[in-house]
């Protein structure tokens, strides 16, 4: 019915819905990948962040038209990477997870920071995570988690 395609977590998908359907709805409802959360429904909270061609996007505002021929990666797939494992350990060590609802989105934003190649001083980390709201932690443990990643150069050890 449609020739429109995109890649979801490394697998080719045909787009069978309206082009205005939110990427978030396709991921969560049509694909059953519920790791990506819906928080504010309007691009403010960052709970729904996914990678599109390796950049973070609020999937609650992305119409399916905008992912055609692109590659979408959600937390389910990202959680299988080594880079993720380092983030997970840093978050566990720092105690940076409370209710957990913002957490998958936060992880995606942290990943982008790690990949940016920038020096992750405090200001850069704060700016990089400024689109991810957390109501539980007060963010400081999250800063500590990210800074522990950079101290070890983002590498093991």
């Amino acid at each position: 019915m449609s020739d429109y395609q995109y890649i979801l977590n490394g697998e080719k998908r045909v787009i069978a819905c309206e082009l205005s359907r939110r990427l978030l709805d396709v991921i969560r409802i049509d694909e059953g990948l519920t790791g990506t959360k819906e928080g504010c429904q309007e691009g403010e909270c960052g709970a729904c962040l996914v990678f599109i061609d390796d950049q973070i996007f609020n999937s609650c505002l992305v119409p399916m038209s905008n992912v055609i021929d692109k590659s979408v990666v959600t937390i389910e797939s990202y959680a299988k990477t080594e880079e993720y494992q380092r983030i997970e350990r840093a978050f566990l060590d720092a105690g940076a997870v409370q209710c957990g609802y913002c957490t998958p989105g936060m992880v995606m934003a942290v990943a982008t920071l790690l990949r940016s190649g920038r020096t992750l001083d405090e200001e850069t980390v704060r700016m990089g995570l400024s689109g991810n709201l957390c109501r539980c932690t007060g963010y400081q443990t999250i800063f500590e988690a990210v800074s522990s990643l950079t101290e070890s150069g983002g590498q093991d050890g």
Binding site: T34, K37, P104, L133, C134, R135, T141, F143
Partner: protein, 694 residues
């Protein structure tokens, strides 16, 4: 390993990987979706509802579908599950429109016509307070004899606070199901047994046919204390009628606009001063309860029973009132009345210190309560109180005296000292809650915690598991906790009032001590433990006299701010906090609560401005109701003393609410210090600062 040593939280890995299933993530076969049909007026009567002919697979669930009582049983039973005829607030639920296809549901809803006889709504707290009919509850008590004391001067101030929205990241959500003769409600909630009791009243069934299962809860902060009872009754009735699972998850704007939030308040405080000391205080507070009382009277009790804070005032006259308006009904939120009363008291104390030319901490020290002193309600402070030590700790860790003496212009410092009583007010734990916990050794040796207290981000699972494992001297892996399911867990009370560690944790510690001797027995072993009120708690609910709380936790805070002279924007750079929470069960969990509370308190203090106009909340989106982002948070410095509480597990007292309560007055005071202004309201927005400059 010491009990205070940090461990990895039990529930974090699943949350990080996105594996944890919140209510919106759970799969149910044959699921129907519900949307709430809401009143478009704040007050009036429904004259007629025109429902168009029902298409196939669209259903209406309304008042007539409630099997027995169309009332939400909380403390009172005045709030209907679905509006009957009378409308009391904008957005009051009238019916659920339910269907398989969300577009079809929305399309049908757009064609429903409702005719109202609109009445004049009372939406202004101060105007409502002048009308006797709008008064719902009033409580007053006295201590000493305020009318006959001799004093040098009298000093009166009035403080106002506005709404605060919990803004948990996970929206309100419940699912109702029916299997054979059991109606089950799954939901994001704090109090499974509150919900169960509400269901019993509405459905006319007992706990054998009604079941509540808490799902992983993405933040609550009090917002999922009483409110989910309403939603649970709605979906239970819907599932019961339709014999299929029904899910009700709010849209975010719906959630902000129509669910409970922190009470707007107005407090008039008069201090009587002699020899530069407060010898008496008159404290008169009113709370906007909104359209239904809900928990407002309980909130007001905590506000006024704790109103003398960390101080000994010999003569008191105290009054609290809950006022009915046609605004959205207000309810539980971390701190539960104390943020309002402690904001007023603590900012007033700072104003007094300034007026009398004294350092704000030194001035407070002169009034500190001590062990054995009478509380405001003529109970006794039972446990050791180390307020001076705590204040010393704060001064040393922050370099207080040097910082304050060398401060530059546009920089300001503010302090606060607050207590927070753990557990239910008065004899509530013994009379109303009667907590029961169970600990079960399974056949394979695994130990299962059976309590109704939930994980909502605060770390309950980790804390309770750690307490049990430590008493049993086994690994935490040997202890399991499952989300509360009323078919299996006893009623250990709601997850509120900072009681989970101090009260429920203590019962589990006792149960574990008993189980320890029986771990080698073959087969299952079940230990049951009941709450017993300590002998030192005496309370008279009629006169509001006695021990309002079993034990208090304490905080002393210092806040530093910088204010932009052009835009009056406030940058909070640092918050230092010294705490007495008895013995923390886990240092990382304590820090998590401290930092989270500080930032939620900072939002309350400077930016979370929420107002109501003609009965409607004006800021109903994340874009108009700002909470702190990563760019807004200060450096947070925390330390604590160890002051074991004899009736707490490993000496622990309460933590969760305390960390928020003292923040707003310290921040407000710091802003005043920076700008040389006086303020009487929070949030202290740039607009408020600008207005105060005159």
């Amino acid at each position: 390993m010491k009990i205070t040593d940090a461990v990895h939280r039990v529930d974090s890995a699943g949350k990080l990987r996105g594996e944890t299933k919140y209510i919106e993530d759970m799969h149910f076969d044959n699921l129907l979706y519900a949307k709430t049909l809401r009143s478009k007026v704040a007050k009036g009567r429904i004259i007629r509802i025109e429902y168009p002919e029902l298409p196939k697979m669209i259903f209406i669930v309304s008042a007539e579908d409630i099997p027995v009582n169309n009332e939400v049983a909380m403390i009172e039973r005045e709030m209907p599950i679905f509006a009957n005829e009378q409308i009391c607030y904008l957005g009051e639920p009238i019916a659920l429109i339910v269907g398989e296809d969300k577009d079809a549901v929305l399309s049908y809803m757009s064609k429903i016509k409702i005719e109202y006889a609109e009445e004049e709504a009372e939406c202004d707290l101060l105007l409502a307070a002048k009308k006797p009919d709008q008064l719902i509850t009033e409580r007053a008590y006295e201590k000493g004899n305020l009318s006959e004391i001799e004093f040098d001067e009298k000093f009166t101030e009035t403080f106002e606070t506005t709404y605060q929205e919990q803004l948990y990241m996970e929206k309100q959500g419940v699912v109702g199901t029916v299997e054979e003769d059991v109606v089950t409600v799954y939901g994001s909630l704090q109090c499974p047994y509150y919900v169960l009791n509400a269901l019993k009243h509405a459905m006319g069934m007992d706990e054998k046919n009604l079941r509540v299962i808490q799902t992983p809860t993405g933040g609550a902060f009090g917002g999922k204390e009483e409110y989910p009872s309403l939603l649970a009754c709605q979906v239970a009735a819907a599932a019961y009628k339709l014999k299929r699972p029904v899910r009700l998850v709010f849209d975010r704007r719906e959630d902000i606009a129509f669910t409970t939030k922190r009470h707007p308040s107005k407090t008039v405080i008069t201090s009587y001063i002699k020899n530069k000391k407060v010898i008496g205080m008159d404290f008169d507070m009113m709370l906007d309860a909104g359209s239904y009382l809900g928990l407002s009277d309980v909130v007001m009790q905590r506000a006024i029973f704790t109103m003398t804070g960390a101080y000994q005032f010999e003569n008191l006259k105290i009054r609290g009132r809950t006022i009915r308006t046609n605004n959205v009904f207000t309810g539980a939120f971390r701190g539960f009345g104390a943020p309002q009363s402690m904001y007023g008291l603590e900012l007033h104390m700072s104003h007094l210190a300034k007026r009398l030319g004294e350092d704000p901490l030194s001035f407070r020290r002169k009034h500190y309560v001590r062990q054995g002193d009478l509380t405001a309600t003529n109970g006794r402070f039972n446990e050791e109180i180390y307020l001076d030590r705590l204040t010393d700790l704060l001064e040393n860790m922050s370099g207080y005296h040097e910082k304050v003496s060398k401060k530059s212009s546009l920089t300001g410092y503010g302090v606060s000292v607050v207590p927070h009583g753990g557990g239910f007010t008065g004899d509530g734990e013994a009379v109303h809650i009667k907590a029961v916990v169970k600990l079960k050794k399974e056949v394979d040796g695994m130990v299962t915690i059976l309590v109704s207290n939930v994980e909502m981000g605060q770390g309950a699972i980790t804390t309770l598991t750690k307490i049990v494992a430590t008493v049993l001297e086994i690994d935490m892996d040997g202890v399991q906790y499952q989300n509360p399911d009323t078919f299996f867990v006893p009623d250990s009370g709601p997850t509120v009032a900072s009681r989970t560690t101090m009260v429920v944790g203590a019962l589990l510690a006792k149960a574990a001590a008993k189980l320890k001797d029986r771990m080698n027995e073959p087969g299952e072993v079940m230990i049951t433990e009941h709450f017993k009120q300590p002998d030192y708690v005496k309370w008279n609910a009629e006169t509001n006299q006695g021990n309002a709380y079993m034990a208090y936790s304490w905080s002393v805070l210092l806040v530093r701010v910088e204010v932009d002279p052009i835009s009056y924007e406030v940058k909070c750079t640092d918050i230092w906090g010294a705490y007495d929470v008895g013995v923390p069960i886990d240092e990382k969990l304590l820090i998590g609560q401290i930092q989270g509370g500080m930032v939620q308190g900072l939002g309350y203090a400077i930016m979370e401005n929420m107002t109501s106009k003609d009965g409607g909340i004006e800021q109903i989106a994340f874009s108009s109701y700002p909470i702190p982002t990563t760019m807004d948070v200060p450096k947070m410095h925390a330390d604590w003393i160890l002051n074991p509480y004899s009736d707490g597990p490993f000496g622990a007292k309460s933590v969760g609410e305390l960390t928020l309560v003292g923040v707003a007055p310290a921040v407000a005071s710091a802003i005043e210090d920076a700008m040389n202004i006086v303020t009487f309201e929070i949030p202290v927005t740039p607009e408020v600062i600008e207005r105060s400059l005159e």
